[in-house]
């Protein structure tokens, strides 16, 4: 199965969600929570808060499944962007004022547990894809990658990065552009070969 086909499956899941099919959300969760959870932990720095945030991400996807615009990227990139934005919002809010955490959720109720054989295959495709991406990303020079990490995971502005990396603004901009370019090539390359 190619990544394009994988995205078609995801779009189908979003359509099912619009018909209030909770199993569709469970399947999407099984696919992408192992990716967005570490992303949330990386940005927020707390496993407990990250768990809550991942719930928020999938509730957001559930409630806005009908608003997904395919032209603007894959379902995967949308889910990841939602997670990153929410995590950075929390980080900024925390920086302004530490808020008390919300209470624990209600007792668990019956929910779809099993992942179908078909979706297990999908997840395998994603894992292979991830491994390929990680190999490709190794080719990105470390300073460029570090700049991308600071910007992506920590929401740092370019001027923040100049201080952290002790680089001129022009250098940061240039390396960031190169890094993004390499990521784009990586995304295309893996997409074509998956």
């Amino acid at each position: 199965m190619t990544l394009a086909e994988n995205n078609k499956r995801d779009i189908e899941l979003l359509k099912r969600m619009q018909r209030h099919d909770q199993e569709a959300l469970a399947l999407l969760y099984a696919r992408y929570s192992p990716i967005v959870y570490p992303l949330a932990v990386r940005i927020i720095g707390s496993t407990e808060e990250a768990g809550e945030l991942v719930q928020e991400v999938f509730v957001h996807v559930w409630e806005r499944a009908g608003r997904y615009i395919g032209e603007r990227g894959s379902v995967y990139s949308w889910v990841v962007a939602v997670c990153r934005n929410k995590a950075l919002d929390r980080l900024r809010a925390r920086a302004q004022k530490r808020r008390p955490r919300e209470g624990e959720g209600s007792a668990p109720q019956g929910a779809p547990e099993q992942v179908t054989r078909f979706d297990a295959q999908d997840i395998l495709v994603l894992k292979e894809y991830t491994a390929a991406i990680r190999n490709t990303l190794k080719s990105i020079p470390k300073p460029e990658l570090r700049i991308l990490e600071l910007s992506y995971f920590e929401g740092s502005s370019q001027s923040d990065i100049t201080r952290t990396m002790r680089m001129a603004l022009g250098t940061v901009k240039s390396k960031m552009r190169k890094g993004i370019q390499r990521l784009r090539q990586a995304a295309k390359g893996v997409g074509e070969h998956a």
Binding site: Q18, H20, Q22, L25, Y29, S33, P34, I35, V36, Y37, P38, L39, V41, T47, G51, E52, V54, Q55, F58, V59, W62, E63, R64, G66, E71, R72, G73, S74, Y76, S77, W78, V80, A81, C83, N85, G105, S106, A107, P108, Q109, A111, P112, I133, R134, L137, L145, L148, E149, S151, Y152, F153, G155, M176, R177, I180, L183, R184, A186, A187, G191
Partner: protein, 272 residues
């Protein structure tokens, strides 16, 4: 759209995807995307895909099992109402309320009419309030002036060395009478009159003193209404010592602003 404008928006794609646009620019950029610009849409999509690779640098990790259970339980609780309906009500009031407006346009008309009525009433009320405040302000200024004048009169009357000269009415107004009071050490002189006729607009009363057979003006005053006709006070500024040597005082009716020598009819004369 011009090429350079497209270029301008293309430059916003990276900061948009990184969430670094300010709210105004983000809104503008999203409005631009909504126009369907193929260049920017493609650029944003590619950037999203590229940046979505970043989490793959991290080691994959399943969230705790209870998180999924909580998520599914949240959905079950929220199932009572359709999620999109609930969210529309929360986040898209304009979209949600638009149909009801089109079904009941008269509600909008009544609302607008009521709004106009409220604005008109408010404008009238504010105008009235401003007028009242202006009136009160004028009255307050008048009272303040009157109070100041009375303070000055009191200051003269409280003087230890007060000198008083009475004047009685002559032929034009025999019922009139007056007093002049002063402190010899001060420059001011208080004139009090009663029953002196209201002076014509072009005329003023003029107070004189006589010294060595010569008449010297001490100042002018006007009686301009009934209240002043009954009882009138005025402080005139004259030189210190000017009154001491006076042989007599008298009041004539002269041209507005006064004259060098008395030529008009005499209304009051000192009885000293």
């Amino acid at each position: 759209m011009k090429t350079e404008e497209r270029h301008k928006y293309l430059e916003l794609c990276i900061p948009y995807v990184f969430g670094r646009l300010n709210p105004g620019n983000r809104k503008q950029f999203e409005a631009h995307l909504a126009t369907g610009c193929p260049l920017c849409i493609k650029e944003v999509a590619e950037l999203h895909e590229a940046m979505a690779l970043m989490p793959l640098l991290l080691k994959q990790q399943e969230p705790p099992r209870q998180m999924k259970e909580r998520l599914m339980s949240r959905l079950s609780v929220g199932k009572r109402s359709r999620p999109e309906d609930r969210k529309l009500a929360e986040q898209q009031p304009a979209v949600a309320t638009a149909p009801s407006r089109s079904k009941r346009p008269w509600v909008a008309y009544i609302f607008v009419a009521l709004l106009i009525l409220i604005i008109v009433v408010l404008a009238l009320y504010i105008n009235n309030l401003v007028g009242m405040i202006g009136g009160q302000e004028r009255k307050s200024n008048e009272l303040q002036t009157e109070l100041q004048r009375k303070d000055e009169i009191l200051a003269i009357l409280q003087s230890e060395r007060l000198e008083v000269v009475a004047m009685s009415g002559l032929e034009p107004s025999p019922a009139a009478y007056a007093k002049i009071m002063w402190d010899p050490g001060k420059k001011s002189l208080l004139v009090q009159t009663s029953n002196l006729p209201i002076a014509p607009v072009e005329k003023d009363y003029q107070l004189w003193e006589t010294k060595s057979g010569r008449s010297m003006s001490l100042g002018v005053f006007a009686i301009s209404n009934e209240q002043e006709k009954q009882n009138f006070f005025k402080i005139l500024n004259v030189g210190v010592g000017q009154k001491q040597e006076a042989e007599a005082f008298f009041v004539t009716l002269e041209a507005k602003g006064g004259v060098q020598q008395p030529i008009g009819p005499t209304y009051l004369r000192s009885t000293k």
